[in-house]
């Protein structure tokens, strides 16, 4: 049934036609701005990626790198670029975009800037499972990644189950998540204190989050999963503007809010789980990316694409800093993102308190 009434023919000087033009104009301005933000962020990411391929002890030029990429370089250049640096850059893109998009899905769906998978214990669940599998079961490699993935899903399912009460409201989900996050981090601390020093330090390296030793097979698996999740999110995304209204408003506009929220959370958990399984819990990228993207895109948009690219650019840049900024020592990328993200979190909490709101 089309409830829309017949549209009257547009007379010249018709005030409604003028307003119609402004409505369409505002929309295209909004889209142009979102598109230029995506282009600009992609340029930042691409520049950082190229820099990460060129910079380093091997002393390669851009020409060497390009030759190696098309298979025409020296064996040394090909080894450095194709075996070491390219997988590292691509891992940054895969993990960063998954974390950025996962955070955006959580924050918009739960309507709370604090509601990021790293604050809510999703990444913590991944860490706990990964570290547990290393310390208790002696697993390593892909098995640890699988455990991390399962851990993220288990925490998310627990959160859903505990927060469900005749429907699901954002704030209860957030509070349950914060509670679970502290339980998870307590268990993690307990695991680490009872482990042998050498094993504990291995676990700690994983927990900081790094992309230094990722090979092509893991990358292909994680990349494939992220592409599928990105596509699913794109199909789902027309519901985001409604989810950002109140539940009652969204429902009265014909959205099945519980199902839409479940879908968004499942997609977000999947993305964060893949990223964490691949690169460890890279701190704060999920929390920080979406607010940056939303501020750039403006107009209260969910800014999903921009959030994904912000996440990728952030991990690429942070990894460049981590590798080259500290003289002589390369640090894991998670240290640098932590240095960016922690002050932001403090600012967010301080601002939320001043406003007397939950953020």
């Amino acid at each position: 049934m089309t409830a829309a009434p017949p549209v009257a023919p547009t007379a010249p000087g018709d005030p409604v036609a003028a307003v119609e033009g402004r409505v369409a104009g505002a929309r295209s301005r909004r889209r142009r701005r979102a598109a230029s933000v995506v282009v600009a962020l992609s340029a930042v990411a691409l520049t950082a990626a190229v820099a990460s391929l060129v910079l380093g002890a091997a002393g390669l030029t851009i020409g060497d790198v390009l030759a190696a990429l098309v298979g025409q370089g020296s064996p040394k250049a090909e080894f450095v670029v194709l075996r070491l640096r390219l997988p590292r850059a691509l891992a940054a893109v895969v993990a960063g975009s998954a974390l950025g998009l996962g955070g955006a899905l959580f924050q918009t769906t739960l309507r709370n800037p604090l509601a990021s998978p790293d604050i809510l214990g999703i990444t913590g669940g991944a860490s706990l499972a990964a570290v547990g599998s290393m310390l208790l079961l002696g697993l390593e490699g892909p098995a640890v990644a699988l455990a991390a993935f399962a851990g993220a899903l288990i925490v998310a399912a627990l959160m859903w189950g505990l927060a469900w009460r005749d429907g699901l409201t954002g704030i209860r989900f957030v509070l349950v998540g914060i509670g679970l996050a502290s339980i998870v981090s307590g268990l993690l601390g307990w695991l680490l204190t009872r482990a042998a020093v050498r094993e504990a330090s291995e676990a700690l390296v994983w927990m900081v989050g790094g992309i230094g030793s990722i090979g092509w097979p893991e990358l292909a698996t994680a990349g494939g999963a992220v592409v599928v999740l990105l596509a699913a999110t794109a199909v789902f995304s027309p519901r985001m503007p409604l989810l950002s209204l109140s539940d009652d408003s969204a429902r009265s506009l014909g959205l099945d809010v519980t199902r839409a929220r479940l879908t968004a959370i499942v997609l977000g958990v999947g993305l964060v789980a893949v990223a964490t399984a691949l690169a460890g819990p890279i701190a704060f990228v999920a929390l920080v990316s979406a607010p940056i993207a939303r501020a750039l895109v403006g107009h209260g948009q969910a800014a999903l694409a921009a959030s994904a690219i912000t996440g990728a650019a952030m991990v690429l840049v942070a990894d460049l800093v981590a590798q080259h900024a500290f003289a002589g020592v390369a640090v894991p990328v998670g240290i640098v993102t932590g240095l960016i993200g922690a002050p932001y979190l403090l600012w967010l909490i301080a601002r939320g308190n001043r406003k007397g709101s939950d953020g």
Partner: protein, 268 residues
């Protein structure tokens, strides 16, 4: 005029509860088609809950709400939203969202699975912006508007749904008296011009009596009285439902009943 068909919205022995606490009990109500209905009642009488029940925002504990004889829970969400539009109490817009975009979200029930716009979406959005006097605000952020402007924008979004039935939960609260009148005039205009059935929860009895064709007094989760305002709004009904001693006079402007409360320090 623009209406597609007459509709019957009806509550049948409807019982609604929050967390096991019954708020509306065994209530029967038929919303008169193409008219303006106001639901009034003291605080915590269940009037907003009743509206939420009619709006499909709550699942009944017992009984049901039907639209054209069909249980409203059997409608697909968008199918229902094309017939019944709802303005919840104190809606919230995300920071920074522009008026024209918020109003465009009212077109969602008419869009397909991938959210594609239909060709006349912009035309309809422009029409409701004009009708609500908000077209000059189209490029402004909702958050920076005054309370009265913002409420008109939300009404515009609801009207953009082009539903035959519009339900509003206290649309005039937090507005000063001139903006209250402006808003109620706007709803009356929609009712007169498009035949829209309007159901609203109102606090202000005299405005309810003036603007409603059909007045429903809810008290303790049941209907205390319903019908033409002049028949319903008696000193006796107001006394028992609101615990308010009053004199009922005639509104010199609209000839509808007008409540003049008495209080402790004055005498009738």
């Amino acid at each position: 005029m623009n209406r597609s068909a007459p509709h019957t919205l009806r509550a049948e022995s409807l019982t609604l509860a929050y967390d096991g606490r019954t708020v509306v009990e065994g209530l029967d109500l038929e919303v008169p088609d193409g008219r303006i209905t106001a639901i009034v009642g003291p605080n915590a009488s269940g009037k907003s809950t009743l509206l939420r029940g009619l709006a499909r925002l709550m699942r009944p504990v017992a009984g049901r709400v039907t639209l054209d004889g069909r249980d409203i829970r059997s409608f697909a969400p968008k199918e229902f939203a094309r017939r019944v539009a709802v303005l919840p109490q104190q809606p919230v817009a995300p920071d920074g969202v522009l008026v024209s975009e918020l109003v465009s979200r009212g077109r969602h029930p008419h869009r397909g699975w991938f959210g594609g716009r239909s060709s006349d979406d912009d035309r309809i959005v422009a029409e409701v912006l004009e009708a609500t006097g908000t077209s000059d605000l189209a490029d402004r952020a909702v958050a920076e508007l005054s309370g009265g402007q913002r409420q008109r924008v939300w009404i515009a979004m609801v009207l953009a749904q082009r539903a035959d039935i519009v339900l509003l939960d206290e649309p005039t609260s937090f507005l000063d008296v001139s903006h209250q009148l402006e808003l109620l005039d706007l709803l009356t205009q929609s009712n007169r011009e498009h035949g829209t059935t309007v159901v609203m929860v109102l606090h202000e009895l005299n405005l309810a009596a003036r603007y409603a064709d059909h007045l429903v007094v809810v008290d303790a989760g049941r209907i205390a009285a319903a019908g033409d305002p002049s028949a319903v709004l008696t000193a006796q009904t107001v006394g028992s439902a609101f615990g308010l001693e009053c004199v009922v006079a005639e509104d010199p402007v609209s000839r509808s009943p007008m409540i003049v409360p008495i209080g402790r320090y004055h005498q009738a």
